[in-house]
């Protein structure tokens, strides 16, 4: 089911039916006294996709739809509750194989959302950037570390002398550059970018995105780019996966998705994007609210907000179905109702 109809370069990262549930129960004593059962929050519920070598795969969706959880599952900050994650053909999601796959994990790094929290305030920038080099043993001596850090800082548009400073001496955009330099210093080929620009000013966002695109073509990087901002995604993504309440509802090439969105949720998101051409098109605001993920709707999770929903949508959960290069999880699309 997964890669039906897909062509192109081989996948670098494959997720198959990955799920992660969080235990959000009240403490044991409260549960016993109040007689309430354990409560699980399915942040990610059966997600399958692949990221091909050299591309930028973007995950979009509203807050709380599980985008960041997927990022943390991939880099190993969380262990998946079910499913498998493969990197370069090797399964990395098993706790038993953690040690064996440590070498593989070095090839992936992460860029975080908040540049004010992602750098240790007590460390000098050169130590922050050098940490992966030191931990992974990539340099022979201090002189080599210093020169590599200098090169990395230059690569992201900072001066080697900036290494002597502390993070608080930099602006948000500069901090994100430091964050990128740190991610690159372990010489990864895959970067997970968790909303790397959403904490930045719009003018700085463009600079960071350009930097990331430039680094991608220069170093042959593969990106998993997570964002809630469709404008940003249209700027960088080759392929896009749209998430809703822990599930993927649509996967398509970027151009295809923006030109001919299939899933009603994708259509709703795109209708809400303001257009700079001032075409006079009436914007349709996103209707309704995201349901409580603790008790998701039956059937298709989107049906309470969906204009196309019928009885089948309320009872039967749609699967992601590939048609040519586009996958969507929608009964209406499958039945050619829309």
């Amino acid at each position: 089911m997964l890669s039906r109809g897909e062509q192109g370069p081989p996948p670098l990262l494959t997720l198959e039916d990955v799920g992660r549930a969080f235990d959000v129960s009240r403490p044991w004593l409260n549960r016993v006294i109040e007689g309430t059962p354990r409560q699980l929050l399915h942040a990610v519920d059966g997600v399958s996709f692949e990221v091909r070598k050299g591309e930028t795969f973007a995950l979009v969706g509203e807050s709380g739809c599980g985008k960041s959880t997927i990022a943390r599952l991939i880099v190993g900050l969380y262990a998946p509750s079910r499913g498998r994650i493969e990197f370069d053909g090797v399964r990395i999601s098993d706790p038993e194989t953690r040690v064996a796959t440590a070498k593989l994990r070095r090839r992936m790094q992460m860029i975080f959302q908040d540049p004010y929290a992602s750098l240790n305030p007590r460390w000098r920038v050169r130590d922050i950037v050098a940490e992966p080099i030191r931990v992974l043993g990539l340099a022979a001596d201090q002189a080599e570390i210093t020169s590599r850090v200098g090169v990395l800082l230059k690569q992201v548009g900072l001066a080697p002398e900036d290494g002597d400073k502390y993070p608080h001496e930099f602006s948000g955009g500069q901090r994100q550059r430091i964050s990128i330099a740190r991610a690159l210093s372990g010489s990864p080929d895959f970067l997970v970018c968790d909303e790397p620009t959403s904490a930045l000013d719009v003018s700085v966002q463009a600079q960071i995105l350009n930097l990331m695109t430039e680094l991608q073509s220069r170093l042959g990087l593969t990106y998993l780019f997570i964002s809630h901002n469709l404008a940003v995604v249209s700027h960088v993504a080759d392929r896009i996966g749209v998430m809703y309440l822990g599930r993927l509802v649509e996967i398509a090439d970027a151009e295809e998705l923006f030109a001919r969105p299939k899933h009603p949720y994708t259509r709703m998101l795109l209708d809400a994007v303001p257009d700079l051409e001032m075409s006079g098109r009436q914007r349709t605001p996103v209707a309704g609210e995201v349901p409580n993920p603790l008790s998701p709707p039956t059937g298709c999770a989107f049906h309470p907000r969906c204009p196309q929903a019928n009885e089948r949508c309320k009872t039967e959960r749609p699967n992601l179905i590939w048609r040519a290069e586009v996958a969507s999880a929608c009964h209406a699309v499958e039945e050619n109702r829309i």
């Binding site: 943390r72 880099v75 190993g76 900050l77 440590a102 994990r105 070095r106 992936m108 790094q109 992460m110 975080f112 959302q113 908040d114 929290a117 992602s118 750098l119 240790n120 305030p121 007590r122 460390w123 940490e131 992966p132 931990v135 992974l136 502390y166 608080h168 964050s179 740190r182 372990g186």
Partner: protein
């Protein structure tokens, strides 16, 4: 080092602008200097029997007749110069106080860091022990530990080990506040993205705790530590006043106050008053310094 680089400028400025802080610092320096340099500064070695003269016992302070000028603050029942005993006593008091705080700090920070970062059963266990200990007054725990040690250890070794036992007793009664503070800050820090970044890089939990989390949770600990020194000195003085603290051969300020207390009603007030003033001065100045440090390091109060 990092701390100084980050806060140095602001802290120095705030220090200069605070007359209380400058005064407290000067008093502290005088107290600590007098204590540390006692063997060179004190007019007399009160623990050298050959220097003592029983004929000089109960001499009043220098400004009260029939005084001798060389005993500025008078002498006690054995002819010891009060000023000298205060300087030597402050040495013991400060030494025990600082050592007890260091012990409590290391123990508390270690347990708090483990508790906060690792969580789970270990966290629950450490915090319940802390809760239980907090339901007893610190002085009671110190008394208890001291009493157990006295019974458990051979009688002839009491003299040498009395001070280490005292340090342990005061230290163990004070670790909880460090552990709680550090645990709280660790819970905040460990969810910050720089810790996650270190985990993605592949750092071990121990390295993350020591190199990433610890430097970021030490600020409040230093403040608590400073104020705790004053509390520890008081606790030591209380124990010594009750006669369970330091051995009588090496009297601290608390011991001196207790000894003088016996002569208070017979008119020799200077034997207990001056050690008392010395204790209050020492504790007050350390406390004021700690208060200032707390305000200076607290970004919300500036």
């Amino acid at each position: 080092m990092n701390l100084r680089a980050l806060w140095g400028h602001d802290v120095t400025y705030s220090f200069r602008r605070s007359p209380v802080a400058v005064g407290a610092a000067m008093m502290t320096v005088v107290c600590i200097g007098g204590a540390l340099l006692a063997p060179w500064l004190a007019p007399q070695n009160p623990f050298d029997p050959s220097a003592l003269d029983l004929n000089q016992a109960f001499m009043p302070p220098a400004w009260v007749a029939p005084a001798e000028a060389r005993y500025l603050l008078g002498t006690d029942d054995q002819g010891r110069d009060i000023l000298s005993t205060i300087m030597y006593g402050a040495r013991i008091s400060l030494g025990v106080g600082v050592a007890a705080v260091l012990f409590a700090l290391v123990l508390g920070v270690t347990l708090g860091l483990l508790s906060g970062y690792l969580g789970g059963r270990l966290d629950a266990f450490i915090m319940r022990v802390a809760d239980i200990q907090l339901s007893f007054p610190a002085i009671l725990i110190a008394l208890l530990v001291d009493g157990v040690a006295r019974v458990a250890l051979p009688a002839d070794s009491h003299g040498e080990i009395a001070i280490p036992v005292l340090i342990f007793a005061i230290g163990i009664s004070g670790w909880v506040q460090y552990a709680r503070t550090v645990r709280g800050s660790t819970l905040v820090e460990k969810n910050k993205e720089y810790v996650q970044a270190a985990r993605v890089i592949g750092r071990s939990p121990l390295a993350i705790m020591l190199r990433h989390v610890l430097p970021n949770v030490m600020g409040p600990v230093l403040v608590i530590g400073t104020i705790h020194i004053a509390t520890a000195i008081i606790t030591e003085a209380t124990l010594s006043f009750l006669g369970v603290g330091v051995p009588p051969t090496r009297p601290s300020l608390g011991t001196l106050i207790r000894i003088g207390n016996e002569f208070l009603l017979s008119g020799e007030w200077w034997i207990t008053l001056f050690p008392g003033i010395a204790l209050v001065t020492l504790v007050l100045s350390v406390n004021l310094l700690g208060d200032w440090l707390r305000d200076a390091l607290n970004p919300r109060l500036r």
